[in-house]
Amino acid sequence: MKTGRKWIWLLLIGMAACKPTGRNPGDVIRYNLQTEPPTLDWSITTDNTSIETLNNLMEGLTRYDKNLRPAPALAESWEVTEGGRKYIFHLRPSAKWSDGKPVRAQDFVYSWQRLIKPETGAEYAYFIYLVKNARAINSGQIKDLSQLGIKALDDRTLEVELEEPAVYFPVICTFVVTFPQRKELVEQFPDSWTEPEHILTTGPFVLTKWHHEYKLELEPNPYYWDEKPKLKKAIFYVINERTTELTLYDTGDLDLCQPPPAAIPYYHDSGQYHSKPILGTYYIGYNIRKPPLDNLLVRRALAMAIDRAKLPQILKGDQVPATSFIPPGMLGHNPNIGFPFNPEKARALLAEAGYLGGKGLPPITLAFNTLDTNQLICEFVQAEWRNNLGITVYLRNMEWKVFLKEVEFDPPAAFRFGWYADYPDPNNFAEIFISDGGNNHTRFQNKEYDDLVTRAAFEPDLQKRQELYDRAQKIILEDSCIFIPLYFYAVNYMIKPYVRGLDYNAMGQIFFNKAWIDLGRKRP
């Protein structure tokens, strides 16, 4: 018995002696990506995790400044000619790949041709559909890739010709699918050129290790043209479970984390909790062809019967209640558009529609994809409609892909949906509800709206653009009332006090090139 005890003590002492340090080793940041990047091939990537990783590895012609405006990156300058139809980018001489070779205009030509080639099967190829012949090549009508409106005039000069002038084109050039590629590398290692042993990058970091489904390690790119990162290493773990992430943050094994909503109240005043609004909107969509929501008065009544101010308490984070669609921080945002909470008026509208006190109104089905947050929100909406209007709402949850199929082919009367900005321009939000828009699940069609969105995309005058988007938002939120915005998204996160120079931008993106560990404040 005594020997047994001795062994147990020895084991415990042994484990304690080599227990995890729980400390930042200095000059290293440990972050959680939450999911494995499905691919780091920037032509075919579509998900946030891969894009977040790539934004730290790669840079394109332009990048965002602090105000989310396109600023020079690999291109040191550009000219716009032919009334906005042609862009000429001048690459900076110091722009280099991580093997020290210069970035050439031909690297962009190859990458854009690969992106648009049908055989690549790139989902985000449509991001460059505004480039001349891009859509025709992608749909197989033109076979000759050299017909794409991109040309290398010399090693450092790139000419891009557009189908129509688009004022937001430099914004598109910040997006990962437009980043350059090294032809010889992609062709020599078609399935593995994004692995650490082969990948070449143009951004602040290089990928040095990738243990799939576990972690990625990034180290500074010695040939980066701009200020080199201060960190020696950034480790991106793949921890799916939010509570595990929080535990590892608590034990000091992570320097940054996004806590699960239930934990936010406990950490809210810790000094380590932060929240930042991001460009995204959560909404309840209507199928305006399905009774009883084919009745405009009913749709308006429902929109006025939700007290959105209660949502941040329910979600525990710092989400911003919304009545309009285009989020704050973006041109086109106008908080005075849409219907604020007004239960009296909502009841009057419902009575006017012939459903006094909700009597006679058939039950409404509100569908959502199975997720805790969606459940909370939809139950809240159900309670608000019942309490304020006396109507019956059935909730129906579905697995994600089943839900997507249903909203595409036979949308329920009401369904939850959300939209994050792909690029910080109101066009990305407004074009959702155009008549033939693939993301328009409301069955709404309106020629005036379509024209306004098209005009606004090409309007260089900011004041006029704002007016066009105001009018467009009034049509979808007030005149036709095709959906109800509920709140603008926020990223809720915790960060250790010794981490400096790190923040999310309004796109929800995080960049580690300016981050550093403040040794003076490092936890003992």
Binding site: T46, P118, R135, H212, E213, T247, D250, E408, F417, G438
Partner: protein, 305 residues
């Protein structure tokens, strides 16, 4: 013996083919496709992707392509992890699950069977009652609850074991115990009841009358006559433990194969769904064959045909 192995190999092949075929048609009948996403893209793009992965072909043709690849042991590219071949994904994740599963199995068998033996030998005594209580607890407490409690106690409060991740051997301890708890409890109850059953048989009295007792009685006579049911459950248990657990791998952030049993389905990653199902089916077939061999070794009356 060689004839038996060849015969069982062909039987196994038929089982795996049936599993693969049923899975193939079932997964294609579920609504939603691998490239459905919140952000819808233009129809020509969908067409390009479907052409690339042969999803534009009739289902019977897709089945033909798949079976032809499978006969060459190729699972094809993943639809979700688009730069990676499914066989590479399995080659990276299966060993992790297998290693963790091996430790869990070792814990489950050693704790479970020995607790069962001692319980049966001390029937209705204090040890037996405590063991009954603990095994009931082990079976009824879900692994994710136990895992959370272990993380809280050893990782968070006492800080003597890492709460998650996979850097060295200590990282395997909590997940292996969490994974082993339920099978261990089940094996303990099973071995206890079968041993009690054996203890009541007349031959035991005769062996005891010959003066055999102690370890010799337990290991040479009792266990050999009681282990068949335990061996029966060990087959599928081994297959289950070494292919990984979705819940445990998620909670401890372990890069194993278990997660794909769920995520491949939610992502509609057809090649990966097929691969994990086939691997699991092959392991079950293999384990059942080994179990049959063990029967023959344990009981001379069993003859394999």
């Amino acid at each position: 013996m060689i004839g038996l192995v060849i015969k069982r190999f062909f039987y196994g092949l038929v089982v795996v083919w049936a599993v693969a075929t049923i899975t193939f048609f079932l997964m294609h009948s579920v609504p939603g496709g691998p490239f459905d996403s919140e952000k819808k893209f233009p129809p020509e793009i969908l067409k390009n992707i479907q052409a690339k992965y042969h999803l534009d072909q009739p289902l019977w043709k897709q089945y033909g392509f798949y079976m032809s690849d499978l006969s060459r042991l190729k699972f094809g590219p993943s639809f979700k992890y688009r730069n990676r071949q499914v066989e590479d994904i399995l080659a990276q994740t299966f060993p992790v699950s297998m290693y963790l599963g091996f430790w869990a199995l070792l814990i489950a068998v050693s704790f479970g069977v020995s607790a069962g033996i001692v319980s049966a030998l001390r029937h209705n005594q204090a040890f037996d009652r405590i063991a009954i209580f603990l095994t009931t607890l082990g079976i009824s407490v879900p692994s994710f609850v136990l895992a959370t409690l272990l993380i809280y106690l050893f990782g968070h409060r006492l800080k003597i074991l890492p709460p998650a991740l996979l850097e060295d051997w200590r990282h395997y301890l909590l997940p292996a115990f969490s994974l082993a708890a339920a099978p261990s409890a089940y094996l303990a109850r099973l071995s206890r009841s079968t041993l009690l059953d054996t203890l009541g048989k007349p031959f035991v009295q005769s062996v005891k009358a010959r003066g055999v007792s102690g370890a010799r009685l337990v290991f040479k006579h009792l266990l050999k006559n009681s282990l068949s049911p335990v061996v029966t459950v060990l087959g599928p248990l081994v297959a289950m433990l070494i292919t990984g657990s979705f819940v445990i791998e998620k909670i401890f952030s372990i890069p194993g194969m278990g997660r794909y049993f769920i995520t491949a389905v939610t992502n509609r990653d057809y090649p990966l769904i097929m691969a994990v199902t086939i691997v699991y089916a092959v392991l079950i077939v293999l384990m059942n064959f080994l179990v049959d061999l063990c029967y023959a070794a344990l009981d001379p009356r069993v003859r394999l045909k």
